[in-house]
């Protein structure tokens, strides 16, 4: 019994120490949110009102959209607000959280989420989301921001979130050719509760002056022409922009080299193409500003420096 108690105390102190160190290492700008919330909604690591555009969605987004590519090529501040198997309700919650601290001007919504039935929610994904975003694990490298600074006269103290929601994976598992996006008369149904939630999201965006853009990122497995047809109806109904990056493969995705799991998710090389497309869209439509020369955004340059060293081009 004595040993059980001792072990418990040991683990309790360890937990407290980890929490304390986490406060030191995690970029922390919103004290009203807990570390757990920061781990779930990574956008909370960004300084207030610095992110102009967000991309909300599931694993397709954190695989296909890299904000650092957009920053480097266009100077726009974007963030991938994504979790595994995200539901439309989760997307709405993320939007609210993001808007509370960032007030984005544009929100891209991955359309795959609109079809995910909330009744099929899998408990495993909650666990996976928490595990994959354990704060100290994600931000532990920020120790470099405040240790051994005498070695290179680095007195800066800005902890950074390097990937901005993107998950860097450069492995390749080629997809076999399939009848992907073959024309069909069918229209996939959207669950009723999702239609209500979608309506709520549109209203929220309108009330907060956020331009909502629907995007289908390249996906060989989950996306189909019948889903495309349904989103077309929805887009017309609400008068929204809809970009389907699957129809006629406008980005020229090479399914042999640019997917990490046989066509389900893109890998880094595919993500570069999607990110540049989004950057170009924001630029062409003049939706957000280029901040590259703005001192307030110095930490984005720092993040890019680390990011560029970590990705294999």
């Amino acid at each position: 019994m004595k040993n059980v108690l001792k072990s418990f105390v040991f683990l309790l102190i360890l937990f407290i120490l980890v929490e304390l160190i986490s406060y030191a290492l995690v970029p922390y700008h919103n004290l009203k949110y807990s570390l757990y919330e920061i781990s779930k909604y990574e956008i909370l690591t960004e300084e207030k009102d610095t992110v102009d555009s967000i991309f909300v969605g599931d694993s397709l987004i954190y695989s296909a959209f890299s904000p650092m590519e957009v920053w480097n090529n266009y100077g726009f501040t974007t963030f991938a607000c994504a979790n595994s198997a995200q539901l439309l309700e989760d997307a709405y919650n993320y939007l609210e959280i993001a808007n509370d601290t960032q007030h984005p001007k544009v929100m891209f919504l991955e359309t795959n989420v609109i079809f995910r039935n909330p009744k099929n929610k899998v408990w495993y994904y909650d666990y996976k989301n928490i595990m994959s975003s354990l704060y100290i694990i994600n931000y532990h490298n920020n120790w470099k921001k405040f240790m051994f600074n005498f070695l290179n006269n680095d007195t800066k103290f800005s902890k950074v979130n390097v990937y901005k929601g993107f998950k860097y994976i450069n492995k390749t598992q080629s997809a076999k050719y399939r009848d992907y996006m073959k024309y069909s008369e069918k229209v996939t149904e959207i669950p009723k509760s999702n239609l209500d939630m979608f309506d709520k999201i549109v209203k929220y965006c309108n009330q907060n002056n956020i331009k909502l853009v629907l995007v289908s990122t390249p996906n060989m497995k989950a996306w189909s022409y019948s889903k495309h047809a349904r989103i077309l109806n929805l887009k017309d109904e609400y008068g929204l922009d809809f970009i389907d990056l699957n129809i006629d493969n406008p980005l020229g995705i090479d399914w042999k080299t640019e997917t990490r799991d046989k066509g389900n998710h893109l890998n880094y090389y595919g993500a570069v193409k999607v990110s540049n497309f989004i950057g170009e869209y924001l630029k062409t439509n003049n939706l957000v500003k280029d901040h590259r020369n703005d001192k307030k955004y110095e930490s984005w340059n720092e993040s890019y420096e680390i990011y560029s060293k970590s990705v294999i081009k």
């Binding site: 040993n3 072990s7 040991f10 102190i13 360890l14 120490l17 980890v18 160190i21 290492l25 100290i136 694990i137 994600n138 532990h140 490298n141 120790w143 470099k144 240790m147 051994f148 070695l151 290179n152 390097v162 990937y163 860097y168 680390i306 990011y307 060293k309 970590s310």
Partner: protein, 529 residues
């Protein structure tokens, strides 16, 4: 999967510990066996059948040899005459030999098929091509069962020791199955002998609080070596070995130095995890490393580095070869013609050649590994040739060979030779290896040293962490070398100091570990062998 993941150490292992402790003593060895097979199945899937086949083969062969010994002993009891006894012994030994050879062949054939067949096929195809023969043998693509190189050597040692009556083959099938597949050792060894773990592996002793703490302490030390040092150096090493022509000789030398450190930290770190995990279940495994960088010559290095492989090769290759009738005959001839020093050199030459050929091949079917083996063979053999001369010169010049400076110089020389050896080991081809060595000696300039070192994806703070961590490992190694048990000493300190050290170790791994953004973890290197 490697031993270093969250799943094996903090989900799988605790689960096994709990189930093991809940169930009665008799059932515990079965729990370990099932856990081992589940672990093996997760990694190698259906290939588990090969480890089971190997285990069953040695179990049955062991029992047959035991029966032969029994029959022989019964017969010997009835016989009085020495000559007759000799004849009986020889007759039964022959019977055992048949069993031994057949079972060894059975086990080695799997190893050869999975590890070496493609290398030999490729080499043979190259020869055919060279001879302008328009034919090539097909290369069969397949995965090898995890740890086959390790458990096959264990299987051979079980068979040979049974044959030589050094061990009594076990009737307990669980014990034999577990000996080859015990999950902590299955991937990267250490290569254990049956009599080393025979009594503990099936003892079913309860996991005690002391063992649990000590075991996990050692596991965390292994994690520290792997995550903080090895993984940090990995990206540097990868870049140097893939594009060495872009760097000066001194940076290439650092590539070799860092790779040697990485290899040591990864492999000895794995051993810490393996030995720590086994300790939890009261299984005391042999150590595989003993401060190898304190070695004064290459022979000594190999008695401190991957010790269990070295002793296996010594016991099952070196001695049998050097004591074989044929080698003895040749050595005798040289003794007559020259002197006993030359004779022992010849004997050593043949046995060492066999040892290092197999050592190279065991590490992998590739020319770099074979070259790696012969590189050490040549160094050890040259050492043996020159030792009497060096000894005489030192005596004449009145150099005290136990002098600290002399010892230090020998350690530096040996360490440099080790760096070159590991460079050969890591290089993707023999051409790259020779190119890198050439570059070290022909392009040794410090002109761009600083900028080159910082261009290899490590910043100055990474180097600071590496240096501090190496100092920590060095101090612990020195203490161990002096015979101090570091964990025992820490456990005697008061709780504040003790726990502070534990927290420092765990938090160092979490904070300073080279994982996540910008780092690439080292794949389990020895698991591939």
């Amino acid at each position: 999967m490697s031993y270093f993941g969250l799943f094996p150490l903090f989900v799988f292992l605790p689960l096994v510990i709990i189930i093991y402790n809940i169930l009665p003593k008799k059932v515990r060895p079965i729990v370990l066996l099932i856990a081992s097979y589940i672990f093996f199945y997760i990694i190698s899937n259906k290939l588990i059948v090969f480890v089971i086949l190997s285990s069953l083969s040695i179990y049955i062969a062991g029992l047959i040899m035991k029966e032969i010994d029994k029959d022989r002993d019964k017969l010997l009891e009835k016989v009085q005459e020495k000559e007759e006894k000799k004849l009986i012994k020889s007759k039964y030994k022959k019977r055992k030999k048949v069993i031994l050879i057949l079972t060894i062949l059975f086990n080695v054939s799997f190893l050869f098929f999975f590890k070496n067949l493609n290398f030999f096929t490729l080499t043979f195809n190259d020869i055919l091509k060279f001879l302008n023969i328009d034919y090539s043998f097909k290369i069969i693509k397949h995965l090898a069962p995890i740890g086959i190189s390790f458990y096959t050597l264990e299987a051979i040692s079980y068979l040979v020791d049974s044959y030589n009556e050094k061990i009594v083959p076990s009737n307990n099938i669980i014990k034999v199955l577990l000996y080859l597949s015990f999950f902590p050792t299955i991937m990267e060894g250490p290569i254990t002998r049956f009599n080393e773990i025979d009594s503990s592996i099936c003892s079913g002793e309860k996991v005690t609080y002391h063992n649990l703490c000590f075991g996990y302490q050692r596991i965390f030390y292994g994690l520290f070596k792997k995550y903080v040092i090895a993984d940090r150096l990995n990206i540097f090493v990868k870049l140097i070995f893939s594009s060495y022509l872009n760097y000066s000789g001194v940076t290439v030398l650092f590539g070799a130095i860092f790779y040697t450190i990485l290899l040591y930290m990864e492999f000895s770190g794995t051993m810490d995890v393996v030995i720590g995990a086994s300790e939890i279940f009261n299984v005391k495994l042999p150590e595989n490393f003993k401060a190898p960088f304190f070695s004064k010559n290459i022979s000594e290095f190999w008695s401190r580095w991957h010790i269990t492989l070295g002793t296996w090769l010594k016991d099952y290759i070196f001695y049998p070869v050097s004591l074989s009738k044929c080698v003895k005959k040749v050595a005798g001839l040289f003794k007559k013609l020259f002197n006993s020093h030359i004779s022992s050199l010849v004997m050593g030459f043949v046995a060492l050649f066999a040892v290092w050929s197999l050592n190279g091949l065991w590490h992998g079917a590739g020319w770099t590994f074979i070259l790696f083996g012969y590189y050490h063979f040549i160094l050890i053999f040259l050492g043996n040739i020159f030792e009497p001369f060096i000894s005489k010169i030192c005596l004449k010049l009145k150099i005290n060979r136990n002098n600290r400076i002399y010892k230090s110089l020998r350690i530096i020389k040996t360490t440099f030779l080790i760096f070159i050896g590991e460079l050969i080991f890591r290089a993707p081809t023999v051409n790259v290896a020779t190119g890198m060595i050439k570059r070290i000696f022909t392009n040794f300039t410090f002109n761009n040293f600083g900028s080159e070192m910082l261009s290899l994806k490590l910043d100055i703070k990474d180097y600071a962490i590496v240096i501090i961590s190496l100092i920590v490992v060095f101090v612990i190694s020195v203490l161990k070398e002096k015979g101090k048990n570091v964990r025992e000493s820490i456990s005697k300190k008061n709780i504040v100091i003790r726990w502070s050290l534990y927290y420092l170790l765990i938090l160092s791994i979490i904070v300073f570990g080279a994982y996540g953004v910008g780092y690439q973890p080292v794949e389990p290197i020895y698991a591939d062998f």
